[in-house]
């Protein structure tokens, strides 16, 4: 009985992330449009885009290989599994112990690996430029991410997200400078990983600094739908991650019953909305930086993570 309810909760989360991810992106786009005084498309536009893409035919380049055709599914599956493992509205989900934060980050790395390969498959310059820049950004973001994990693990004594969320939700964490630094660093890494302004521009692929959109330029139809969906899910994943670690208020603790789950889900949606609004605000207020300024941006994230860690050591020994 317990197992069935566990599976049910886990299943609900998997479906929830799937349903909410396009809405979140639509919401961010809407807010961005409103902030520059445009009407903007409906928040449900991403769903319509996905459906339209699913109905369209796939145009494959002549020399595209099998790898090009399986990559959308692998990428989507890896991101979906990763998103299902991050606690959203409840902690202690059935499969939380399958992978800790390091493994979740690595799963996203697997998705990126295949996507970068697919960018190289057709043999156009656009794919190559996108892939090579994507892996450069990843190479800079991963050390920063590890230091954030380290800082978090120092405070919570775990890299298991459920444990971390439970610990952070408890009252005796308090306000810590280190955690603040880690949060800023994590936000910076999240911006880079999701290809948001100021690192990359998700709205266009015809800019000189194109990264993600150039990499997937050759995709069309249902393949493109899978990749877009993966990108929506990834954004949701990072926001859930920041939410469950740094603002775990009202997250339902394991086994607290349906009512608490419902409250947790409601609060989770509110958190997503707030994060989406902040993201839109930030993106509207910031200019995109040149691609070779990105190392400085992510270097700052790395330094913040390192400083946060060192500060923890210092504060503990006195």
């Amino acid at each position: 009985m317990v197992v069935i309810s566990d599976i049910l909760v886990q299943g609900v989360q998997m479906l929830l992330v799937l349903l909410l991810a396009p809405l979140l992106t639509g919401f961010v786009r809407k807010i961005k449009a409103r902030l520059v005084r445009r009407q903007g498309a409906s928040v449900f536009q991403p769903y319509r885009d996905l459906l339209r893409l699913l109905r369209k035919e796939v145009v494959l380049a002549d020399n595209a290989s099998w790898l090009f055709r399986v990559t959308p599914y692998i990428t989507f599956a890896a991101i979906w599994v990763a998103a299902a493992l991050v606690p959203t509205f409840a902690t202690g989900l059935l499969f939380n112990w399958t992978a800790d934060l390091i493994a979740i980050v690595a799963l996203l790395g697997s998705a990126r690996f295949f996507l970068a390969l697919a960018g190289m498959d057709v043999g156009t310059s656009f794919g190559g430029i996108g892939s090579s820049r994507e892996v450069m950004i990843a190479a800079l973001a991963e050390p920063a991410m590890l230091l954030i994990v380290f800082c978090m693990a120092l405070v919570a004594g775990s890299t298991q997200l459920s444990t971390v969320a439970n610990f952070m939700a408890s009252s005796y964490v308090g306000l810590r400078v280190s955690l603040g630094m880690a949060m800023v660093a994590l936000v910076m890494v999240a911006l880079a990983e999701n290809g948001r302004i100021p690192v990359d521009n998700p709205a266009t692929h015809l800019e000189l600094t194109m990264v993600h959109e150039a990499m997937v330029l050759e995709y069309s139809g249902r393949h493109l739908a899978m990749i877009e969906f993966g990108a929506f899910l990834k954004l949701l994943l990072y926001i859930s991650l920041i939410g469950c670690v740094f603002v775990p208020w009202k997250i339902a603790l394991f086994g607290t019953g349906p009512l608490s789950y419902a409250v947790g889900a409601g609060i989770y949606i509110v958190k997503l909305a707030v994060a989406g609004f902040l993201l839109a605000l930030f993106e509207t207020a910031t200019a995109k930086m040149r691609v070779f300024r990105v190392p400085q941006f992510l270097g700052a994230a790395l330094m913040l993570g390192l400083l946060g860690t060192l500060l923890l050591f210092v504060s503990r020994s006195f």
Binding site: A103, S125, S158, L206, A225, P295
Partner: protein
């Protein structure tokens, strides 16, 4: 349960070694027969499999029956001691598994060799040498076998001695190998002390002063480190490993570097006794630098086999970081984290031997099929070599430390060990370990970038040359060797608990500590410390990914459009006219070269733009400097050359002057002796 004829494990191993040596002799006799290739590789395959199962059974089964043999050769008062313990058994598994895979591969690949008689006698001898190094139980036999292994591998490097660059590779290798052996000789001399008891048992029992211990550690880093490829002693490795035939490259990169790591573990962890924490600082530092430098070099490389050799350097760095962590924890008496870091290091040794052999086999397959090692002349091989490209892709994913393959598990374990570092009392280590962890993460991410490049440029895109266009799939033996290794990569990735449990006797033997038993965990998860801290389950990750991908495929094929049309690539309406306009290895590395290379390699891009009206093509020239070669080795070589030039005068003296020189030397030495006492 004992059968009528009980043959102890170590005796079985020694018979296998004898068999390998006999094959080496037989290969000379057969050298002009057409069947030599099949006979030699078939026999080495059989012997390696026997040795593999012997040591595997011993490690998993009756480990209690430790046994040794003493052969009446070597030093007269000592004899040659050979012994099998858990550590040796593990490295024998690595050696013989690599050997078996290389032999299987050689069955097919060997037929393409232009000069098989230059490879066949040395191949079994090389395997025998590596087996013997691992089995040796006294300093004399160890050094002798080590030198035998070095010399035979040098002969294999020189197998294709007429190809440009190979003679230089062999020369640099010989110099570095001699230097390494010298360092080992001094290390064992210090360990044996003035009494000169060279048996490992006696060395282990003796007390070593901290001064001697520190000196031995440095000498081992020089000796074993130069063979393993620690930066800055790595210079020979990217020259020598690719020069050998591909299955030998796989052995050198996948296995011989591990034998060097075995030597380091044997001396520093086993013979030296309790380490001091300051020892770990230097190991951690060198390991971190090696990991990042190795992969940055690999990123800049356009020769596929050299890229793989540089990536070996990276992996050796990762292993040394893990060993450094084990030293740090062990020095502070933290048994569990020490066992975790040590097990992670051994796990990575095993993993690297799997995927590096696989990747070198793949590079060899590309080489036989196209005759090219230069990635910028390849491309599009995924269409013409579908099976090879599939297994090569598996190797790339595994080496890039991505789940659910094996490379990720060992790196994950290392990160878990890094996360234990706040327990260390020393401030230097507290601050250093997270920084080294960040270096490891950087190396892992760069490795992913590097292997996107290796696979993307070689196998994807459009063919950049005639040879790549007419490539064909390789023979069945080569393919089966690669598929077996790819399957092992996946198995070790999804069932890591079994591997960790099998490695636990080694940690118990060396560190007197062990990780928790993983077999008891539900669902085959691995839990290094406690479930609330961290856990990982490769099997479930694989199952989840499979289920979600199948679900996605099912729904797409159920509800979405099935229409599919082939057409020219879109490329924003601009189709590149020639395959040469594709992204090449150098252009793929450009962003990383610009971010890291300006500092590490003093990389500069020079654009040579012809004047308007001039019809010459514009050229982009990339300037890279190997600062380690130019900063350390070149001045050293110049100094040696200069002093040799000065001393050259001594060759042309008269007999009178020679005699007076001899006399002067005698007087000086006597004076020194007189003053000394």
């Amino acid at each position: 349960m004992s059968s009528a004829v009980v043959i102890s494990a170590v005796v079985l191993q020694m018979w296998c070694v004898a068999g390998l040596l006999a094959m080496a002799v037989l290969a000379i006799a057969l050298s002009h027969s057409k069947r030599a290739t099949a006979v030699v590789y078939g026999a080495t395959l059989a012997i390696c499999v026997a040795a593999l199962f012997g040591s595997l059974r011993w490690l998993v089964g009756d480990i209690a029956n430790s046994s040794d043999v003493i052969l009446p050769i070597g030093l007269p008062w000592l004899g040659a001691h050979f012994r099998l313990d858990a550590l040796a058994a593990f490295f024998l598994i690595v050696v013989n598994l690599g050997g078996a895979a290389a032999s299987l591969y050689g069955l097919g690949y060997g037929h393409h060799d232009p000069a098989p008689h230059r490879v066949l006698p040395f191949f079994p001898a090389f395997l025998a040498g590596m087996n013997l190094v691992v089995l040796a139980d006294d300093a004399f036999s160890y050094l002798l076998c080590w030198e035998f292994m070095s010399l035979v591998s040098w002969a294999l490097v020189m197998a294709h001695h007429r190809e440009p660059g190979n003679a230089r590779a062999g020369y640099v290798y010989l110099v570095m190998a001699s230097f390494g052996t010298l360092a080992l000789l001094l290390a064992f001399g210090l360990l044996a002390g003035p009494a000169g008891d060279y048996g490992f048992a006696a060395i282990r029992a003796a007390q070593h002063t901290p001064y001697v211990a520190a000196l031995v550690l440095i000498l081992m880093l020089l000796g074993a480190g130069s063979k393993a490829g620690l930066v800055p002693l790595h210079v020979w490795l990217p020259l020598a490993h690719p020069a050998a035939p591909s299955h030998v490259s796989a052995l050198m990169s996948g296995v011989m570097t591990k034998v060097a790591i075995y030597g380091f573990i044997r001396v520093v962890f086993d013979l030296l006794g309790q380490p001091t924490w300051s020892a770990s600082v230097i190991v951690l530092f060198l390991g971190g630098i090696t990991a990042v430098m190795g992969i940055l070099y690999a990123m800049m490389e356009k020769d596929l086999k050299r890229l793989l050799a540089y990536s070996t350097i990276e992996n050796v760095g990762i292993i040394f970081v893990s060993l450094g962590l084990a030293l740090a924890f062990q020095a502070n008496g933290l048994k569990l984290p020490a066992a975790l870091a040590f097990t992670a290091a051994l796990f990575h040794v095993l993993n690297h031997s799997f995927f590096k052999s696989l990747l070198f086999f793949g590079a060899g397959a590309v080489l036989t099929s196209t005759g090219e090692r230069d990635m910028d002349k390849l491309g599009g091989l995924i269409h013409r070599m579908p099976l090879t490209s599939f297994v090569f892709l598996v190797g790339c994913v595994a080496i890039s430390a991505l789940p659910p393959f094996n490379g990720f598990v060992s790196e994950w374990l290392i990160f878990q060990a890094v996360l234990q570092s706040p327990q260390l009392p020393q401030w230097a280590l507290k601050i250093m370990v997270p920084a080294v962890g960040a270096l490891l993460a950087l190396a892992a991410a760069l490795a992913a970038a590097c292997f996107v490049k290796a696979f993307g440029v070689t196998f994807l895109g459009r063919p950049r040359s005639e040879a790549a266009e007419t490539a064909h799939e390789v023979d069945r033996y080569s393919l089966s060797a690669m598929f077996i290794l790819a399957a092992l990569c996946l198995l070790a990735g999804i069932l890591p608990g079994l591997v960790i449990d099998a490695l636990s006797p080694i940690a118990t033997e060396i560190l007197d500590g062990r990780m928790p038993i993983q077999a008891n965990e539900p669902w085959l998860s691995i839990v290094p410390i406690a479930e609330s801290r961290s856990s990982y389950n490769g099997l479930l990750v694989l199952v989840f990914i499979t289920i979600s991908a199948s679900l996605a495929v099912y729904f797409i094929h159920r509800f979405a459009s099935h229409a599919l049309r082939r057409g020219p690539a879109w490329g924003c309406g601009f189709s590149d006219p020639t395959p040469a306009a594709q992204y090449s290895g150098a252009s793929f590395a450009q962003p990383i070269r610009r971010v890291f290379g300006t500092l590490v390699f003093r990389a500069r891009d020079h654009v040579e733009m012809p004047a308007p009206g001039d019809v010459r093509p514009a050229r982009l020239r990339i300037e890279l400097h190997d600062l380690i070669w130019e900063g350390i080795y070149q001045p050293l070589a110049d100094a040696v050359g200069y002093s040799a030039g000065l001393l050259n005068r001594l060759q042309f003296l008269t007999i009178r002057r020679y005699l007076s020189l001899v006399f002067a030397t005698l007087v000086t030495l006597l004076l020194v002796l007189a003053i000394w006492s």
